[in-house]
């Protein structure tokens, strides 16, 4: 045998090296006892949301209830949730609007002042929007001070005492759900009515909805109606290609919805 390694040894060593290199740094980290315990004892709750766009009638009661419940000024042009109307005409043209975030509902067939005769409509529907409580929230990632974060139950929250109002998160959200709170002057967003869901209630928008188009539930509970829909029915999420892993699932999502 020469000093050089044989072809057999070379391949064996290369495989060993590849195996070692594949161990992630995280796997080698030694956890403190407390950390290890916390990592194992995961919370039994992961809040998720289902929006049924077939059922939504565009009344805007969800927006009204949300604004009052969460003290977002009623006349301010911002809202934690809103409803969009999509009208797709037979010639392929798409019209969409959300007047005042649909705070007062959709009461006329005019879109941006333009009348659309019924005979020209091929399909028309309403799409409620709210924070997707992403599993990989880009807004939390960009926060330079640790003011916005994902709570253990999956809800992304904003610490109003800690936020410096830099606006990075507002820019980072691909869904445009964040805005500056006109009164508190900090970043604001839907947090699934954290004060309600933590008391066993439903969100204000879910309670206000007169058609059951909005549902909130625990995705870690296989018997929860929301979980059953997500697992058993054809649901879509908004902007899946961004890799944010939204936890708001839409039934009847159309390709025109963005």
């Amino acid at each position: 045998m020469s000093d050089n390694c044989s072809r057999r040894e070379f391949f064996a060593n290369a495989l060993k090296l590849a195996a070692v290199a594949a161990i992630p740094v995280g796997a080698l980290k030694i956890l403190e006892p407390g950390e290890a315990k916390a990592a194992i004892a995961k919370t039994g709750v992961r809040w998720g949301f289902v929006v049924d766009t077939y059922k939504c009638i565009g009344c805007g009661f969800c927006v009204k209830a949300c604004k009052n419940e969460n003290e977002v000024q009623y006349d301010a042009p911002v809202s934690r949730t809103w409803v969009e109307r999509y009208v797709i005409k037979k010639d392929g043209e798409m019209l969409a609007d959300t007047p005042n975030a649909a705070r007062d509902g959709f009461t006329t067939s005019k879109i941006h002042g333009q009348a659309v005769p019924d005979s020209e409509i091929s399909k028309a529907f309403f799409v409620p929007k709210l924070c997707n409580q992403c599993d990989n929230p880009p807004c939390a990632q960009v926060c330079p001070v640790g003011a916005t974060y994902q709570a253990p139950d999956g809800v992304v929250l904003v610490d109003r005492t800690w936020c410096i109002g830099c606006g990075y998160c507002i820019m980072a959200c691909p869904y445009g759900v964040r805005f500056f709170h006109p009164k508190y002057k900090v970043a604001e967003k839907c947090n699934f009515c954290y004060h309600r869901i933590s008391k066993g209630m439903k969100t204000a928008c879910v309670d206000a909805c007169p058609t059951g188009a909005r549902m909130i539930g625990n995705l870690k509970d296989p018997n929860d109606p929301v979980t059953k829909i997500v697992l058993n029915e054809r649901v879509g999420v908004l902007k899946d290609e961004y890799g944010t892993k939204p936890q708001v699932f839409y039934l009847g999502l159309d390709k025109n919805v963005r």
């Binding site: 939504c56 009344c59 419940e69 990632q141 309670d207």
Partner: protein, 157 residues
């Protein structure tokens, strides 16, 4: 090393020490990396409780049904049973202490949120019974003829 190097160096070290001391007192002890790791879970833990403490304003029908059982039962037997009292009467808050009386919104605007007819295929709005607000008794309150708690055409006032 000569003095002109040490003097500014001491100033810099002093500033750094000052910042670290200030940070020690300013940043709460529960601020740090939590369940979701540094990227998504770097925050002040007590803030979760801050959010939970916020007052609930919309209390749902469960809160109304005992005192207003007559209205509750009439409504629950009608087509409007899924609609919350507070959708029309406003948030209950601490009613009956504060506010002692809730609003009674009889405006047409409230009813036509749902019942302005929009013939939208593929949306339930298209199936919902509705009117053209401009031609159907324009200017009149809906509740003059229809009972919002029990809306049926047989029950017209």
């Amino acid at each position: 090393m000569s003095n002109h190097v040490w003097r500014p160096a001491w100033v810099v070290l002093g500033v750094v020490a000052l910042i670290l001391t200030a940070r020690f007192f300013y940043v709460p002890s529960d601020f740090g990396t939590h369940e979701r790791g540094f990227m998504y879970g770097y925050y002040r833990k007590a803030n979760e409780e801050d959010w939970k403490k916020i007052k609930v304003k919309y209390l749902t029908k469960e809160y109304c049904k005992d005192c207003h059982s007559d209205k509750y039962e009439m409504n629950m037997a009608s087509k409007h049973s899924i609609i919350q009292c507070e959708n029309c009467h406003g948030p209950a808050l601490d009613h009956p202490e504060n506010p002692p009386k809730l609003v009674i919104d009889n405006s047409r605007d409230l009813c036509i949120r749902c019942h302005a007819k929009l013939n939208y295929p593929s949306s339930r709005r298209g199936e919902l019974k509705g009117i053209d607000p401009e031609t159907h008794n324009a200017g009149m309150e809906c509740s003059g003829c229809h009972n919002p708690h029990k809306p049926s055409l047989e029950g017209l006032k």
